[in-house]
């Protein structure tokens, strides 16, 4: 019954191929091979394996980045101009004044703001069709179930999963990774096995692996970084060759440096050695087109609240064949087929992994958020953020004593800018910016190993999203300059 509903949902999409949203999708797929971190469509993939070199990633992606920029701009002007002022009107919080000044929200890498339609959908759910899903036979339960499953289908379409059954609702990226570590890790990682990570991971993609490695007697191997934040491919290659590697787990986009990692190439190489790959996409799915079939990742994790959705809802994508083999994560109601006194059987994925009453409102809100960002167009969002990032690099880079961490070329990165000014501590910087109504993050950004690698205790991080403007970057720059004057840098 539910399967039929999904089938209906996806076939109705293909019928609507002329709708603007779908046309957008088609256009971005055509152009996607020019995007850094993304790849050529399957049909053009050479059947013979090209040599897996990672030649000066910076230089290569610079060229690709420029192509992206031109392509994106042409696309915007030719098709659908990105009207940031219109976008801003969708976000009620942007009307707030902080210390008498307009809120300048530059902390979307931590959590994004929410558009009116997502907020309204949550209210509508609770005031019109709040009910538990799947087992109720009454009207509003049917409505809630349909909305919940439609959200799953929307997410599947967003990341181009093969089926909505590959989408598991979790609390967020952290829980998604813990689910894989506990369920897949316990079943597949044994004594002496290895797990490859990178030095730029968020704590949420380090600690679950430390726990499972300790429990299973496995070991962790790290891919190091160059001074400007690129992965050292030789490390990766060596670790893979050392044998016994069961899993590679890495972030798509660094939450500190904004670095876009060439995950697709790493995945291909890992697969050639029979390893599974998890991609932490918390900082990529909200900001750029991500296609799980094209990447060919085995697992992909992301959070709803960083992409205009509510907090407490996120997604684990995994290939169907892998999900079927994985043991349950939590036991309880909803995830069972039959329960007897001493043993039980499980439902098929994704329900096997969704024990108890899930965050129904969150999932429905996330469905709305996916609709919202898809409506803006992920390529448009990426191009908009790219322009802002270049502008911010340009302006901040001119401030005496200011250091930006990560790639020097803003075209090779996403809209995350980490910096320090002289000896001004990041927390002091953030407090001074807050006096001007500017919200940025300061600290270690849940990436202490990366901070150690950079040789700093903390950085100030400004991150942009769909609603940010060049005026706001100007405000940031003025305020950073003021901080420099206060601290006499």
């Amino acid at each position: 019954m539910l399967k039929r509903r999904w089938a209906a949902a996806s076939s109705s999409t293909s019928l609507k191929a002329t709708s603007p949203a779908v046309a957008d999708t088609v256009s971005y797929r055509k152009a996607r091979n020019r995007l850094p971190g993304l790849a050529v469509p399957k049909s053009t993939t050479p059947t013979t394996k090209p040599p897996l070199t990672f030649p000066g990633q910076l230089a290569q992606s610079t060229v690709r980045g420029q192509a992206t920029q031109k392509q994106a701009t042409a696309y915007i002007h030719g098709k659908k101009p990105y009207d940031v002022e219109k976008v801003r009107r969708d976000f009620p919080i942007l009307n707030r004044l902080i210390n008498g000044k307009p809120l300048t929200y530059l902390d979307s890498a931590a959590t994004s703001q929410k558009p009116r339609e997502v907020i309204d959908e949550l209210t509508r759910f609770y005031s019109e069709y709040n009910a538990n899903v799947h087992r109720g036979v009454y009207k509003i339960s049917e409505e809630a179930t349909a909305a919940y499953e439609e959200a799953r289908a929307k997410i599947a379409r967003l990341i181009n999963a093969n089926s909505p059954n590959e989408i598991i609702f979790v609390r967020g990226t952290t829980e998604a990774i813990n689910l894989v570590a506990k369920s897949w890790g316990t079943a597949n990682v044994g004594i002496g096995d290895g797990i490859i990570l990178t030095e730029m991971e968020h704590h949420s993609n380090i600690v679950p692996w430390q726990l499972i490695a300790k429990e299973r007697g496995a070991h962790l191997k790290y891919v190091g970084l160059t001074d400007d934040g690129h992965l050292v491919h030789d490390d990766f290659h060596q670790h893979l060759e050392s044998g016994g590697i069961k899993l590679v787990t890495m972030t798509h986009v660094s939450n500190v440096l904004g670095m876009i990692n060439p995950v697709r190439e790493y995945i291909r190489e890992a697969h050639s050695k029979g390893c599974r790959v998890l991609v932490d996409a918390a900082q990529s799915v909200p900001h750029m087109p991500v296609d799980v079939q094209d990447l060919d990742c085995d697992f992909l994790a992301f959070s709803g609240h960083k992409m205009c959705g509510p907090t407490g809802i996120g997604v684990l994508y995994a290939k169907k064949s892998i999900l079927e083999e994985m043991p349950p994560y939590h036991g309880g109601g909803e995830m069972i087929r039959e329960v007897h006194l001493y043993e039980s059987t499980w439902k098929d994925p994704p329900y096997k992994f969704e024990a108890g009453t899930t965050n129904i409102a969150g999932a429905i809100g996330l469905g709305k958020a996916v609709e919202y960002v898809s409506g803006l167009g992920l390529r448009n969002i990426q191009a908009h953020e790219q322009e802002l990032t270049e502008y911010a690099h340009d302006r901040l880079g001119k401030i005496k004593g200011l250091r930006i961490y990560g790639p020097e070329n803003p075209r090779t990165k996403a809209g995350v800018i980490s910096f320090n000014l002289g000896d001004v501590h990041a927390h002091d910087m953030a407090t001074l910016l807050d006096e001007d109504g500017i919200a940025v993050r300061s600290g270690h950004h849940c990436a202490q190993p990366l901070m150690d690698r950079l040789g700093v205790s903390s950085t100030t991080r400004a991150s942009v999203y769909v609603y940010n403007t060049e005026d706001e970057i100007d405000r940031l720059v003025e305020s950073v300059e003021r901080a420099g004057r206060v601290f006499k840098v």
Binding site: H425, H427, D428, T431, D434, S457, S458, V486, F487, K488
Partner: protein
Amino acid sequence: MSSIYSEIILDYYRYPRNKGSLPHAQIHARDSNPLCGDVVEMQLEIDEKNTVKDVKFNGQGCAISQASASMLTELVKGRTVDDVRKISKEDVLSLIGGQLTAVRLKCALLSLKVLKTGVYNYIGSTDATKEELSSL
């Protein structure tokens, strides 16, 4: 607007008083603020009259945490251990002046927490003191 970053705070941050270490200190405590990574270490030499003969702090972190630590050392020098024990949050905040947000309060009070941990270890801790420390 009135910034927390007064000339005085910045002066203590740039030119900290009583920074360093005391090899013969009877009281020695250290703590960090996991949120910011601020670290403060306090060392106190106590004489036979139970007064603070000398005091030094060491550490790294934001201007608020380091300036407040330095100011606190000036406040305790020459006082009795019992007086040091009675120093309150408000005493420290009035030294700093200005308005602090809840998160930044942790920076401002880290040095007091370290100082009190050291003092209570020296005079013998009770459950009530643990509660007081955890409220800082």
